[in-house]
């Protein structure tokens, strides 16, 4: 069972719908015992960074602990941004610090938010892009991005007038700036790959 963290922000239901659609057992919950027993954790997020961090509250510490213990964790959009150290969206806010780097505004000189379908150059070493080829369009909707400085992280980029990190993997920690749950067939495949990874990891334990 995969747990989608329910912390009073938008789009959590869409993430659950997409997992159910691919036949994955999923629970929307914020209960610590559910998080501990899940085979994988999804941290979704449609919210401003500061609101999301305060809504997550004490759950942040638990998520960090189980992720460091090896359980697969997938952060999506703001849920992905929260895996980093700090954001400057509407004030300064600390994230979970699982990945090195800060969340900063997309540089001026282009249309912002970065909204719509952009081509991601898939890093084939990353687990969640298995079977998707060398590039695919995914749906983005954001004004801030993570400036990834983590030397241990594998990164896939998209071109928005600069190399914008679209997805990151560091061991069992996965993050996507785009919305796989809203990226049609390619997005559902990414979620399927996460589900498969969780199953595989839970069998190893």
């Amino acid at each position: 069972m995969i747990v989608v963290i329910d912390y009073n922000v938008g789009n959590v239901k869409s993430v659950c719908n997409a997992f159910r659609y691919i036949g994955c057992e999923v629970k929307l919950s914020c209960a610590p015992e559910v998080v501990e027993n899940a085979t994988g954790i999804v941290l979704p997020g449609v919210a401003a960074f500061g609101y999301a961090v305060s809504a997550l509250g004490p759950l942040a510490a638990l998520i960090k602990e189980v992720a460091l213990g090896g359980k697969p964790l997938l952060g999506i959009c703001v849920g992905y941004q929260m895996l980093f150290e700090q954001s400057s969206e509407y004030g300064r806010h600390n994230g979970l610090g699982l990945l090195s780097g800060n969340v900063v505004p997309i540089p001026a000189g282009r249309v912002i938010p970065h909204m719509g379908w952009n081509l991601v150059k898939l890093n084939e070493e990353m687990d969640l892009f298995a079977g998707l080829g060398s590039e695919k369009h995914f749906y983005f909707a954001h004004s801030f991005y993570a400036d990834v400085t983590d030397s241990q992280a594998k990164v896939a980029f998209t071109d928005y007038g600069f190399e914008l990190p679209a997805s990151v993997q560091k061991g069992n920690i996965y993050g996507m700036q785009f919305h796989p749950e809203k990226s049609s067939k390619a997005g559902l495949k990414v979620l399927q790959n996460f589900y498969d990874t969780c199953k595989r990891k839970s069998l190893e334990c």
Binding site: N11, Y21, V46, A108, V111, G116, W117
Partner: protein, 254 residues
């Protein structure tokens, strides 16, 4: 490179999709959930659902509709029509909508855009503007509210610029003069707004041919094009639209 988006718009009344001309003379275009799923499966980039009755009774219906749509649609969709408060936005976003659009409520209380952006992030906040060519001032457009029934003194371009500062993350710009006519978008209007703001603009109203879509993107500067009649009644498929645009050099997700 970011692609230009093709966005079918589903005007919903009494749980049916309808389409009118100049905001009047409605014609039935099918079931919203079925039509939404069909568009999601056939390559639309995004959808917009507008509750055009927007009464207290229809509010409950639209939340249920959003839930059903979200179970079958794996592309982003925006919901609008009669939204007044941050709590109503929250309910729709939690039901599965990616974005919410506001129109009249933002004109009456511009601070709503700021409150919404601080809570949900500005990428969730779409400002819908119903624009009508001004009879008094040439080359200007006036903002209309209450489903287009009430003109205001507000200038469309000024309102667009102000809304971006307040927290709008996207503008859904409908030309009331062109809506439903299938005679082409108002690209003077589109150009005036896209030149003035730095957030994405969705051109709406008047799509009748493939060339109209191309013109709105190239001459109007639109980041996305909204259409209803030409795809609902299957004059063109999404694939045909995207192939046409691709062949003319417009980046699309095909």
């Amino acid at each position: 490179m970011l692609t230009r988006r093709i966005i079918p718009c589903l005007d919903v009344k009494d749980n049916r999709v309808v389409k009118g001309i100049n905001f009047l003379n409605l014609r039935d275009a099918g079931d919203p959930v079925e039509l939404g799923a069909r568009y999601s499966d056939t390559g639309a980039d995004e959808l917009v659902f507008l509750d055009i009755t927007a009464t207290i009774r229809s509010r409950k219906t639209i939340v249920e509709l959003v839930e059903k749509v979200a179970e079958n649609v794996f592309i982003p969709f925006t919901v609008g029509g009669g939204i007044q408060t941050v709590e109503q936005m929250d309910e729709l976003l939690r039901s599965g909508a990616e974005k919410v659009s506001v129109n009249t409520a933002a004109v009456q209380n511009p601070n709503l855009l700021t409150e919404a952006a601080q809570r949900f992030g500005n990428q969730c906040v779409v400002l819908a503007i119903d624009a009508r060519r001004s009879k008094e001032r040439a080359g200007k457009w006036q903002v209309c509210v209450k489903a287009g029934s009430e003109p205001t003194d507000i200038d469309v371009v000024e309102w667009a610029v102000k809304s971006e500062k307040l927290g709008a993350g996207e503008i859904l710009l409908t030309s009331m003069d062109a809506d439903g006519t299938k005679a082409g978008y108002d690209n003077e209007l589109n150009r005036a707004v896209t030149d003035a703001v730095n957030i994405p603009v969705i051109a709406s109203g008047g799509a009748g041919t493939l060339e109209h879509l191309y013109d709105a993107i190239v001459n109007g500067g639109a980041d996305a094009v909204l259409m209803a009649s030409i795809t609902h009644f299957e004059n063109y498929t999404i694939k045909q639209i995207k192939e046409y645009l691709r062949d003319k050099g417009v980046p699309v997700n095909l």
